[in-house]
Amino acid sequence: MKRTPDSESRFKIAASGTAIDETGLKFDMDDFAGFAVEAALQLNEKAGGGETVVYALGPDNVHETLRKAMSMGVDRAVHLKVDKIPADGLAIAKALAAELKDGGYDLVLFGKHAFDSSAGVVGTATAELLGMACVTAASQLSVENGKGTARRELEGSAEILSFSLPAVVTIDEGIARPRYPSLKGIMGAKKKPLESKPAQLGPVRVTVQKEELPPERPAGRIIGEGVAAIPELVKLLQNEAKVL
């Protein structure tokens, strides 16, 4: 899972021109990672046992997010340490595949992408490197008798997929809303194991040259009130926007 800034923030670009200015931003577990953590907890609760382990790659500040996952109910955490998260999803997937290659699990869940990089590479690439079956962007997931079933939204339709374990599933919205940690959970998380070790990143071949804010839309315009404004709207759609 990844630690990302609050998506409702107004972003500014840092003086370097290659990153956002993090001053004053709130960071938390990424939205999709939150869905994945919740899905993992629910699967283990339903199965009645089994360990849930959370991995994050990043600088030390990710400890806070790993503790949050443990306060939700995750049993232990592993921090794969890098100074800076690269923009190269395959380099990250190699670090995870190196960590997970010895197996010992039934399912590896990822968010379908993270808010900041919005690339959706790491989960599916990790599956490929591990030679495991993979469902990309599942909107429903269940496991019964050692078999997984997932639903995946296509444009305008959906597919229902069946797969054997172990497998990798990347999680779309709609699966489960992450629970709020209880006070007991928060206290308990402080005592749960958090292991930190260097990440075995692959070569980084994708780098950020520039970050910039997109052009602003022209300021909005209210053309009128109620039904009376419709003739004007139709005229604008015909003559100015040319869509009617």
Partner: protein, 328 residues
């Protein structure tokens, strides 16, 4: 001079719009690097080869046809293996596919198989000497990243509608290639659930009519459908509030955690304009908003706003659009 390999996406035996956009993007890249060839790979059930000439229209020099009964149901592991095998054989500079449901799945697989760097959801591509540079919107479209990608080949998945499919006719040669089987465990498609018929997908539609909580009850979503019908070629979207209420399926949700769309016209009905929703539609060409609260944030991005009750204004607008389109 460098050749570019394209995955030309199909569904239900037909090429999708993103296939033509992918060929267009690849054509531009090949031309910008000295005029190499564009090779478009089409994978489908036996008979899909009949679609090959359509790809020539958009600038493919060669169409590689891989036919297999499994491909009718998107046998992803085998399709990824077929793309990767071809890429290894061909010394390509780049492999281009769409950042669609299929491409999001295939891109990382192909990149991992080839040990090739990948950039996703790309909106611009430029090449200078050995350096490939792309633009990619991150942070839910709030920040534009310029990425430099080292090495060759690279895998690029392009954002739907970011590259306008442009005709550049070539007399494309067709070559049949062998479907490569999956090398490991696979997922099995148990069922494909078809969505509502007769409407374009949110990613393909030139017009999107979208409804929010201002519609008050699920039944009133019919007003959104009616307006979409009046336009004729419109898709129907919704806010997260609406999909959370179960008025519409999650797949219709437009916003930061849902679909991100850029139609020619986006009509927001009873949508206040939460920042997460705006993140999914702010790149639309023209935005219309109808909402009873004149302070609603949606009016900050709407080119044309009407302050009013959607339950009154929308039926009247539907009638006016029908009238304006009479004879179409």
């Amino acid at each position: 001079m460098t050749n570019v390999l394209v995955f030309a996406e199909t569904r239900g035996g037909e090429l999708r719009k993103i296939a033509f956009e992918s060929v267009t993007a690849a054509r531009k890249l090949a031309d910008a690097t000295g005029g190499g060839e564009v090779h478009a790979l089409i994978a489908g059930a036996p008979g899909i080869g009949a679609k090959a000439s359509q790809l020539g229209t958009y600038g493919a020099d060669v169409v590689l046809v891989a036919e297999s009964a499994d491909f009718a149901n998107f046998a992803r592991e085998s399709i990824a293996a077929t793309i990767a095998e071809r890429a290894k054989a061909g010394a390509y500079r780049a492999i281009v596919l769409g950042f669609s449901a299929q491409g999001r799945d295939l891109g990382p697989r192909v990149a991992a198989k080839l040990d090739a760097p990948i950039a996703s959801d790309v909106t611009e591509i430029s090449a200078s000497g050995d350096t490939l540079t792309v633009k990619h919107p991150g942070y839910a479209n709030k920040v534009i990243l310029t990425l430099v990608i080292a090495g060759s080949p690279v895998v690029l998945s392009i954002r739907p509608s970011a590259f306008t499919a442009t005709e550049s006719a070539k007399p494309a040669r067709t070559e049949n290639i062998t479907a490569v089987p999956a090398g490991g465990p696979t997922v099995t498609v148990v069922e494909v659930k078809e969505g509502a018929k007769g409407r374009p997908d949110l990613g393909d539609a030139p017009i999107i009519i979208s409804g929010g909580r201002g519609l008050k009850v699920a039944e009133n979503f019919k007003l959104v459908e009616d307006l979409a019908d009046a336009f004729g070629n419109a898709a129907v979207g919704a806010t997260r509030a609406v999909t959370d209420e179960g008025w519409r399926p999650h797949s219709d949700q437009i916003g930061q955690t849902g679909r991100q769309v850029s139609p020619q016209l986006y009509v927001a009905l009873g949508i206040s304009g939460a920042i997460q929703h705006i993140a999914g539609m702010r790149t639309s060409k023209t935005i219309v908003a109808i909402n009873k609260d004149k302070e609603a944030p949606i009016f900050k991005v709407a080119d044309y706003g009407i302050v009013g009750d959607v339950l009154e204004v929308v039926p009247a607008l539907t009638a006016a659009v029908r009238e304006a389109r009479k004879g179409h």
